[in-house]
């Protein structure tokens, strides 16, 4: 690690000047009215950065990091700010490095199925650019219209198609990153399985605590020649959950198996008109792809499995427009909830697929017990739950109870052999839950990793691991300290 010859300095004016010299004055924000825009992400956590910078190159990022070292300030990376665990909130202030200016697709090598991009590229923009080559980048988080590739890498993001294609880490060949000491290094390469320790695999999903991605080399896949989307309608979540296991048991892995429960259907259908029956207990959206004959064979298995487990109707669509309409309800669900309740708390937990019926029953019982409406729209094929607890934060005590309920649901996931996040990350939100999943020795090993990359309080302090100097001690206090009336949770 480079040492700071002169020791930390606390003069904010000289920090601003040095950042302006390094990155250009227009790429440095420091006025309070500018900083306030960057005090939160898609959670309720709020904390002002000391300064916000917009680098254009890896060298800019490295310069900002070196200044953070010099002034002994934290560094927090940020993409579009769509994170759902508080990962981009500068909880201890410091330099917020916003990567949205580094938004160029540097190369699409269609013949070798590789793309090289800057981290600020929007996921959907990349997908659109790849479409003309008949290629796609498989990770497709629901926020793909706004989220960045860099943010996806930080969180090892998933999406509906993770079931067949895997999460982000399975699609990253190489990274250029700036480390906490300001060094620019490359991890991985343009082809897989390079000799050496797989630091690339470790870095993906590290939530901005080990460094900042400044360039990513992505593995692309060819679009399937045929795709079919099926909508299976069930009377209950339990029956739909059983259908998910039955499909898998019969040897078919669809590319997606998404569930919407009755509460969500009743919110989504009047707004989106996707064709979901309002009296359904749950619907499953299932997608299969491949050569046309294979799609026909797999679809037949899926349809029969759904009927055998109680589906009262199974619809299917082959044409893009028709398929898109079936998907529209799923993709718009979260937004629709926002229009149906004053506030809602979107949870992310994961359980073994076979435990879905049991845990879903628990989730609904817990919500009833706590007196909150709860809609579930989630990646059933992966056992990745997303309960959305709806509430009115202006009612005294409601937010506290919602947070308590969220904790109880996470606990149920862990007790069922699952974990506290399948794709949203730990961030600030779930640090204190880490102790439910890991022993102190396990957490010490993770702390060792963090220390090997640099001082633990330099990059995204108070994220991922519990404890830490000056970090709040528990979930409730971390969440509550920045909660305001009417906040979106």
């Amino acid at each position: 690690m480079p040492t700071n010859d002169t020791g930390p300095t606390n003069d904010p004016g000289s920090l601003i000047r040095e950042l302006q010299e390094a990155l250009g004055a227009s790429n440095v924000l420091h006025e309070p009215e500018d900083l306030v825009v960057y005090e939160y992400d898609a959670t309720i956590e709020r904390s002002l950065p000391d300064v916000v910078v917009f680098p254009a190159t890896a060298e800019d990022v490295a310069a900002a990091v070196r200044l953070a070292v010099k002034y002994d300030l934290p560094v927090v990376p940020r993409g579009s700010g769509t994170g759902l665990s508080g990962g981009a909130v500068p909880i201890k202030g410091g330099i917020l490095i916003v990567m949205t200016r580094m938004n160029r697709i540097l190369e699409i090598d269609a013949d070798n199925r590789v793309a090289v991009v800057q981290p600020g590229v929007i996921n959907l923009h990349l997908q659109n650019a790849l479409a003309e080559y008949g290629l796609l980048y498989a990770p497709d988080p629901s926020s793909q219209r706004v989220c960045t590739i860099g943010g996806n890498i930080a969180n090892n993001s998933g999406g509906p198609h993770t079931l067949a294609h895997g999460s982000t880490v399975n699609h990253i060949l190489g990274l250029e990153v700036v480390l906490p000491d300001g060094r620019i290094v490359r991890l991985g390469g343009r082809v897989p399985d390079a000799p050496g320790v797989d630091l690339r695999g470790l870095f993906v999903g590290s939530e901005g605590t080990l460094g900042i991605v400044t360039e990513a080399t992505l593995r692309l896949v060819r679009q399937a020649p045929a795709t079919r989307t099926l909508l299976a309608i069930f009377d209950s979540v339990a029956a739909a959950s059983e259908a998910v296991s039955t499909v898998i048991r019969r040897g078919v892995i669809p590319v997606a198996m998404e569930m919407l429960d009755q509460e969500i259907i009743r919110i989504v259908e009047p707004r989106i008109h996707a064709g979901y029956p309002l009296d359904a207990g749950a619907v499953l959206l299932i997608e299969v792809e491949g050569v046309p004959d294979g799609v026909a064979a797999d679809s037949a298995v899926v349809e029969q499995a759904c009927r055998d487990t109680g589906a009262r109707e199974v619809r299917s669509a082959d044409e893009a427009e028709e398929r898109e309409r079936l998907w529209e309800g799923r993709k718009a669900a979260i937004g629709a909830i926002g229009g149906a309740a004053p506030a809602f708390y979107l949870l992310d937990g994961v359980v073994p697929r076979t435990k879905l019926p049991e845990v879903m029953t628990q989730v609904l019982e817990l919500c009833r017990e706590y007196g909150f409406a709860c809609g579930n729209v989630f990646h059933a094929g992966d056992g990745n739950l997303h309960p959305n607890i709806m509430f009115d934060p202006t009612i005294p005590g409601a937010t506290e109870r919602v947070l308590e309920l969220g904790g109880a649901i996470m606990r149920a996931c862990v007790d069922a052999g699952g974990s506290v996040t399948g794709e949203h990350g730990i961030g600030l939100e779930k640090r204190s839950y880490m102790e439910w999943v890991f022993s102190e020795a396990d957490l010490d090993a993770q702390r060792s990793v963090r220390e090997a990359f640099g001082p633990a309080d330099r990059f995204n302090p108070c994220k991922v691991l519990p404890g830490g100097h000056g970090c709040a001690s528990g979930h409730a206090s971390e969440v509550m300290q920045h909660l305001g009336a009417g906040s979106y949770v």
């Binding site: 082809v191 399985d193 060819r222 076979t354 090993a445 220390e451």
Partner: protein, 416 residues
């Protein structure tokens, strides 16, 4: 290589022997590596004994080499110390298998073949093919992460791993990940351990995502006039079929090794639903005269790649750049093949020299890729073995997990 604590080893052996279950000690002659025999060898029958052995070794400065099927010991640099062989064969249980969850948790010493047989009873498999064959252990295949023919079409070990338990030199065990198929809780240390050659601990247990065993598979082959034409055909084939499980260009000598006509060949494996395979085979027949070939061709190539008596290198370059390397290998009298999707060029070199390997590596690097020596005599590996990547980071990690370099000392080089 020397035993690092040989003077004391006699007494230490008794200490080790007394600390674990009776009957765990093994004949050291069975554990020779590169001509060196360890001072002691044990096959612990449980995790506690494994942890005890590793901890005591660390305390007393012994160099430990964990081993399973002993099929990839010629990967990496020659050892810088070898006092204690720890055979993981005693830890070979399936810990948990839930077919409906598509997950399986196994101990490190379990053989891949035994695991596949168990999974097959439920119509599933771990979609990994590694050289030389399914005798490899789970711990070994993870620690070495050697890709096979299915790489690029199916997920690799580093993609399929969901969680891990490792034994640290300090004697404790630590876990990362979990037993669910989608999980971003904490750092993915299980990916760090995959391919790390034991640098950060001894793998004790791992959880994988498994897959349905395909309804059918079919091997096809098409002859080409030369490697340029064969590579071009393979690239077209890559685009033409979504049910590929392997796609390989063979030099004439590799084709002979695979039991095929000695000519440049494109060898293809399709796997999936039978209707999809039949349709895909028809599609491929329209672009080249593909004919059915014996599935045993793959096994022959896999065994050759995993034969640690041979000098085998694996390069990685962009798929479209593989022809250059393959032609060069062929012209030098080597036996080679290209797995198109991952851009992996494998070569068995007849009369290897450090200069020849370095020259091939330079060419791979000029093409934007890398070269790894998968097996070679110790002296050759000493001269040309690969670097571990960013040495500063790897050393910082190694300092925290194995400060005394107890495990596989020297396999990543002198400092590591």
């Amino acid at each position: 290589m020397t035993a690092s604590a040989s003077a004391d080893l006699g007494a230490l052996r008794d200490v080790l022997k007394a600390a674990v279950a009776p009957g765990s000690e093994r004949d050291v002659e069975r554990y020779d590596i590169d001509g060196a025999t360890p001072g002691a060898a044990f096959e612990p029958g449980n995790r506690e004994d494994l942890a005890t052995l590793v901890r005591l070794a660390d305390e007393h400065g012994l160099a430990v080499v964990p081993q399973g099927a002993r099929t990839s010991l010629a990967l990496g640099r020659p050892l810088a110390g070898y006092d204690l062989a720890v055979d993981l064969g005693g830890l070979r249980q399936t810990v948990e298998y839930v077919p409906d969850d598509l997950t399986v948790t196994v101990e490190a010493g379990r053989r891949l073949g035994a695991l596949q047989a168990e999974l097959r009873e439920h119509g599933q498999y771990l979609p990994i093919d590694v050289p030389p064959n399914d005798d490899v252990t789970i711990g070994g295949l993870l620690a070495t992460a050697r890709p096979g023919f299915w790489r690029g079409h199916l997920p690799a070990a580093r993609d399929l791993i969901l969680g891990i338990e490792v034994c640290l030199p300090t004697g404790g065990t630590v876990r990362s990940g979990g037993r669910v198929v989608k999980n971003v809780t904490g750092y993915d240390l299980h990916r760090l351990h995959t391919g790390a050659l034991g640098a950060f601990g001894v793998i004790v247990e791992a959880t994988f995502k498994v897959a349905p065993y395909p309804e059918a598979s079919r091997t096809l082959v098409a002859k080409a006039p030369n490697l340029e034409a064969a590579t071009a055909l393979a690239l077209r084939t890559w685009d033409a079929s979504p049910v590929l499980r392997a796609l390989t260009v063979l030099t004439s000598s590799a084709a002979r090794l695979a039991g095929l006509e000695a000519a440049p060949q494109v060898l293809v494996e399709l796997a999936g639903a039978k209707r999809a395979i039949d349709r895909s085979a028809t599609d491929l027949a329209s672009i080249a005269p593909f004919v059915d070939a014996p599935a045993g061709a793959w096994g022959a190539l896999r065994r050759a790649q995993g034969d640690s008596e041979r000098t085998v290198v694996r390069a990685g370059v962009a798929p479209t750049a593989t022809r250059t390397l393959l032609e060069r290998i062929d012209q030098a009298g080597g036996t080679g093949w290209t797995n198109i999707a991952p851009g992996a060029v494998v070569a068995i070199l007849p009369e290897p020299t450090a200069e020849a390997i370095e020259s091939l590596r330079s060419e791979a690097e000029r093409l934007g890729g890398f070269l790894q020596v998968e097996s070679a005599p110790a002296e050759l590996r000493r001269q040309v073995a690969p670097s571990p990547g960013d040495t500063v980071l790897v050393e910082a990690l190694r300092d925290r997990f194995d400060a005394k370099r107890t495990i596989n000392r020297g396999r990543w080089g002198a400092v590591l």
